[in-house]
């Protein structure tokens, strides 16, 4: 194994050298950095041309200039010496500074979208695999391919038009016309009926239920003016919490495991108490406080599960902790919702909360909650755009792999020996179905830092993609090389990680080296 890894690392370094040389040459050849000055009629044209020639060292041929860059970049290999020199941009900013900033921005933008895409995509894939060739399967397949094939810049424009401009207009005067309620009700009914099983009768019932529920909800929310001053309140939190408790137990332990169920329900009750107890403290919340509270919640949940659990304590502990985390999430969401009117009314937001560009409202200086909402309103649309576009690959891969697993002999054996369907799916099939996805996820995390060039451009987000595009426009090789280094190293590393992880997860492909 070690020799294998070493061999891979050595190849990676060689690939990096070769590729960086090629990229440098391509960048240098991609344009004329003096283009604007050559056709200039400024009286000091010669002087300007000379200044830029000197700045970019244009009199040295590009293949030689590469080695100058390499000499600086090589210093980055000296550990802890802080001598890293990746050059400067045309505007005189050190590439290392620009890279650090752009990476931070890109990570904020892409992380949520990637995590959500993985969770939602994989769940959809599993569900559609279990309901192969049903209406749900076809519906999900159709939609995920639709979003996959929409150009993202167009999707982004649509999202801005309806998700930001339209929604903000709605918020200015939140009044839902009856026609909208009818349309939403029908849509909701259709979605519900998709999830129902095959018989037409059950589908009909599901349709009615879905339609009525949606219409009633919209009507009530409208009546209560919920859109201007949203919030969950203790009752909704309690009801949702109980629902979550049942759901979590169903998936992790099975409803037969009463101890797990009680542990989870106790967490719901504790959560509700915490809703009152913790809330005053939340006024001065910071990120760290939330993290600490989350850790405490998990510990308490595990404690409750431990105290209640019989011989299989682990299941109860897991279920209780997970329920606790979800309760905490509900409380935090409620808190954000209650802060919403203050955010919308802020003089810098001016009543139009959902943003179409950038990462923050300039000059907004509020509490943790206000700034949190600000980040949310700015990241909402780009995250949605990225999410919708990447759902397809995850859902299709996981569906295919789940289908393959479900037809395996050992699944039939598991069923034959009388295991419950939940155990068969969650424990025997699901875990194995995830193995091929490990490769995909590893690649995507590697590509994550590379940025989403088009999305960043459309949403005016100053991440890695922007850094790359703007440098390319100016034919400015140093920032591009910085970008390439980061993206290239990550791609190679995660490629390696994917292979290693794969061999650990799946004994069948373990490398004998």
């Amino acid at each position: 194994m070690v020799t294998y890894i070493v061999r891979r690392l050595v190849t990676a370094v060689l690939i990096l050298f070769g590729a960086s040389f090629v990229v440098y040459q391509l960048t240098a050849l991609s344009g004329d950095p003096l283009e604007d000055l050559r056709a200039s009629n400024a009286p000091n044209r010669e002087q300007l041309i000379q200044a830029r020639t000197e700045l970019l060292d244009l009199n040295t041929p590009a293949p030689l200039r590469y080695f100058g860059w390499l000499a600086g970049a090589a210093k980055c290999l000296v550990p802890f010496a802080a001598t890293c020199d990746l050059g400067t941009s045309i505007q005189g900013e050190a590439v290392t500074t620009a890279l650090a900033r752009a990476m931070g921005n890109t990570i904020t933008l892409v992380t949520t979208a990637t995590v959500l895409a993985i969770i939602i995509g994989v769940s959809l894939g599993i569900i559609t695999a279990l309901r192969q060739y049903s209406g749900l399967d076809y519906g999900v397949t159709f939609l995920s391919f639709l979003f996959f094939s929409l150009p993202i810049f167009w999707l982004a424009v649509l999202l801005k038009e309806f998700g930001a401009i339209g929604f903000n207009n709605f918020l200015a005067d939140p009044d839902i016309p009856p026609t909208t309620i009818v349309v939403v009700a029908i849509a909701s009914g259709l979605i519900w009926s998709l999830f129902a099983s095959r018989s037409w009768k059950r589908k009909g019932i599901a349709f009615l239920l879905g339609a009525v529920a949606a219409a009633a909800l919209l009507f009530l929310l409208d009546l209560a003016d919920w859109f201007t001053s949203p919030g969950l309140g203790p009752i909704v939190i309690l009801v949702t919490g109980v629902g979550i408790a049942f759901g979590v137990v169903l998936l992790t332990a099975g409803l037969r495991n009463r101890k797990a169920l009680y542990a989870s329900l106790i967490m719901v009750a504790l959560g509700l108490v915490a809703y009152y107890v913790v809330n005053p403290i939340l006024n001065g919340a910071t990120v760290w406080m939330i993290i600490i509270l989350a850790v405490i919640t998990i510990l308490v949940g595990m404690g409750v599960g431990f105290l209640l659990g019989g011989y299989d304590r682990g299941q109860s502990m897991r279920a209780a902790a997970l329920t606790g985390v979800f309760m905490g999430l509900l409380i935090v969401i409620d808190r954000f919702m209650v802060t919403w009117p203050a955010y919308v009314g802020n003089s810098r937001v001016r009543g139009r909360p959902i943003a179409t560009v950038g990462a923050e409202t300039p000059g907004l200086d509020g509490t943790f909650w206000i700034n949190g909402l600000d980040t949310f309103t700015h990241l909402l649309l780009p995250t949605l755009a990225l999410l919708l576009a990447s759902l397809a690959s995850y859902s299709r891969y996981s569906r295919a792999s789940m289908l393959e697993i479900m037809n395996m002999d050992y699944i039939r054996t598991a069923r034959a020996k009388g295991l419950s369907e939940r155990t068969v799916v969650m424990r025997h099939a699901f875990r194995n179905a995830l193995i091929p996805l490990a490769t995909l996820v590893a690649f995507d995390i590697g590509a994550l830092i590379g940025g989403a060039i088009i999305t960043e451009q459309v949403f005016a987000f100053a991440g890695m993609g922007q850094l790359f595009v703007q440098a390319l426009r100016r034919t400015d090789p140093d920032p591009i090389m910085g970008f390439f280094l980061v993206a290239g190293i990550l791609a190679l590393v995660f490629n390696l990680v994917a292979d290693i992880v794969y061999s650990f997860l799946d004994p069948r492909v373990r490398v004998k080296a």
């Binding site: 400024a42 044209r45 900033r101 203790p234 504790l270 923050e360 005016a460 100053a462």
Partner: protein, 598 residues
């Protein structure tokens, strides 16, 4: 039974929760009232820029980006500025320009008393002297070879502007009041008005006391002493000047930053606004400079600059009410989208750059008749219709080689220079001039620029009707610039930028053998007039001379100006006072008139 106990516990908890929610539903989640920000009376205006801010020194070659210039314009004051009619307007609240004598030209610049930097230090003679030393290239002694490599000596201050004008002045002395300098020109300099301390170029933007300290000198007096005692740079006898080098090194790069420095001396203001917050590559906030009273005072308390590159993103941000003013890159689509918006005012106009076709005075075009015949076939009206009118409906073909339609003498010059002969396509006239010949014409242009490609296509089609064999010599974006003037083509379509103010750009293009004279135009008469032009300080005489030169150029069948590049800006109904401006300052030119509709 355990079962029972648990359910009881649950029941109790649920009842307790409900009871609590009944009596105390609101106590838990109460948010402290957000204090309303911006308490101010003037309010805040949010303006969009394409490029991101990168330097507080917009005059160095690295910092010379449009956005840095605009920020410098808003945060620095100076002796005059340029208005949207491209006229120079004096700012006498800041200081005065006094012409002591016309010939030899001697100009005295005095800063008013009470004009201060935002750290309380007065703007004084030392600042003026430093500005002069930088803008005149006084210390430079670099010598370069043909390839542009420096062979000896040094260029100290990496000044992006033209040092040619101030280089004509001798070392000035600070006046007795300590707030003035007098520039004595060795020969009259036509553009003296905008050669020094113009707000459009950043005004008086480098605080001498700060640079002195950062450059390792004791104080401002030491800096003044250094400038006044060190000899002028002489390329023949270059010398080491470590002290000047230290100053220049700091000036060249020390003000470059993408975030707000913790050292406030790096962004001192002497203008209406001062930078107060920067989020790198995202936004920048300027707030009112409390002490400022020397010049036009702003209505708004705060200007937020946001950087959005894409035009459609700018339009949607405006539509969503996130920003108040945008000036996107003009295209037919953008204008169409903007005009469809409610509550938005769109302003269209010309920019200072213009496209033109130049004919070489050699090869197939050596014969004036061939040039004239070719010019007769150029469908200028059709080009303007196809390319420009969708963006700027009022656009007309440009009828002068020296003036833009936005300048006062344009009408007179256009009527006089004989441009009306080429207003319409005249295929018959071209055929007559060619007299049966079918010359082959190779046209070079930037193929990657859709406007140029369009122009070429229209011209080629029209010219071939008159018997010209047009060869497509279009080159890619990275190649066409270096092909200029290399003799591989007969005609070329590209763009120039008129400075709008001043005349030093004229000889650069049209004087025999000069750097940007790519087609070999040479007229001894015009050369003489240009020599006179650049030493003429009276604006009316300058105009008269330019009208004559314009006619000489047209008479020699130089080629044709095609159109001025259109520009567009738009603002929401929340703000007023925005007026279109053709030059690089853009909408910022009268930012003090901007107002929030209350």
């Amino acid at each position: 039974m355990r079962f029972g106990r648990t359910s009881k516990a649950l029941g109790v908890a649920a009842v307790a929760a409900l009871a609590l929610s009944a009596c105390a539903a609101n106590t838990g989640t109460e948010t402290p009232e957000e204090s309303t920000e911006g308490e101010a009376t003037g309010g805040n205006i949010r303006v969009v820029e394409v490029n991101a801010f990168s330097s507080f020194n917009s005059n160095s070659s690295e910092g010379n980006v449009d956005i840095n210039g605009k920020i410098a314009y808003a945060t620095h004051s100076g002796f005059n500025y340029i208005n949207n009619d491209l006229e120079v307007v004096a700012n006498e609240d800041f200081g005065t320009i006094e012409v002591l004598s016309e010939d030899p030209l001697s100009v005295k610049y005095t800063v008013n008393e009470g004009v201060n930097w935002s750290d309380g230090e007065p703007v004084d003679g030392g600042d003026l002297l430093l500005s002069w030393a930088i803008g005149s290239g006084y210390f430079n002694d670099a010598k370069t070879d043909d390839a542009g490599e420096v062979v000896s000596g040094t260029t100290y201050f990496d000044y992006a502007g033209d040092t040619g004008g101030l280089a004509l002045t001798e070392l000035p002395e600070i006046g007795d009041d300590g707030r003035s300098i007098t520039l004595n020109y060795s020969e009259p300099f036509a553009d003296y008005e905008v050669a020094f301390g113009t707000m459009t170029e950043g005004g008086i933007s480098t605080p001498a006391h700060v640079l002195a300290e950062k450059g390792g000198l004791a104080d401002e007096d030491a800096l003044i002493e250094l400038i006044e005692t060190a000899p002028a740079g002489d390329p023949e006898n270059p010398e080491e000047r470590p002290e000047v080098q230290a100053l220049a090194d700091f000036w060249n790069t020390g003000f470059d930053t993408k975030s707000l420095p913790s050292d406030t001396s790096l962004f001192l203001s002497n203008g209406p606004f001062i930078a107060s917050a920067i989020t790198p590559d995202q936004s920048m906030t300027l707030t009112r400079n409390a002490d400022y009273s020397w010049g036009p005072e702003a209505n708004v308390d705060e200007i937020t600059v946001r950087y959005i590159g894409e035009a459609p993103a700018q339009v949607q941000a405006l539509q969503n009410g996130e920003v108040d003013i945008i000036a996107p890159q003009a295209s037919a689509d953008t204008v169409e989208q903007l005009e469809a918006l409610e509550g938005v005012t769109v302003e269209q106009g010309n920019q200072l750059s213009y496209d033109h076709i130049d004919l070489n005075y050699s090869g197939v075009f050596e014969d004036e008749n061939v040039r004239e015949a070719f010019m007769k076939t150029i469908p200028r009206e059709q080009i303007v219709e196809t390319i420009v009118r969708k963006i700027n409906p009022d656009a007309e073909p440009l009828d002068s080689q020296l003036f833009l339609a936005d300048q006062a003498p344009y009408e007179e010059s256009a009527a006089n220079n004989g441009s009306d002969a080429f207003a319409e396509v005249d295929i018959e006239g071209a055929r007559e001039l060619l007299d049966g010949a079918t010359p082959e014409v190779r046209i070079m242009y930037n193929r990657d620029n859709p406007n140029r490609l369009n122009s070429y296509t229209l011209i080629a089609e029209s010219a071939s009707q008159a018997g010209f064999k047009v060869v497509d010599g279009g080159l890619g974006a990275s190649d066409w610039g270096s092909a200029l003037g290399n003799g591989t083509y007969d005609a070329t379509i590209f763009g120039w930028i008129n400075s709008g103010v001043g005349v030093s750009g004229v000889p650069q293009i049209f004087r025999t053998g000069n750097g940007s004279n790519f087609n070999g135009f040479s007229s001894p008469e015009a050369d003489e007039l240009m020599d006179e032009l650049i030493v003429t300080t009276d604006p009316d005489e300058q105009d008269a001379l330019q009208v004559q030169i314009d006619k000489l150029i047209w008479d020699s069948k130089y080629g044709l100006p095609l159109f001025q590049v259109p520009g567009v800006d738009a603002y929401s109904d929340n703000v007023t006072g925005i007026v279109y401006m053709p030059n690089q300052t853009g909408v910022w030119w009268n930012f003090w008139d901007w107002q929030v509709v209350q």
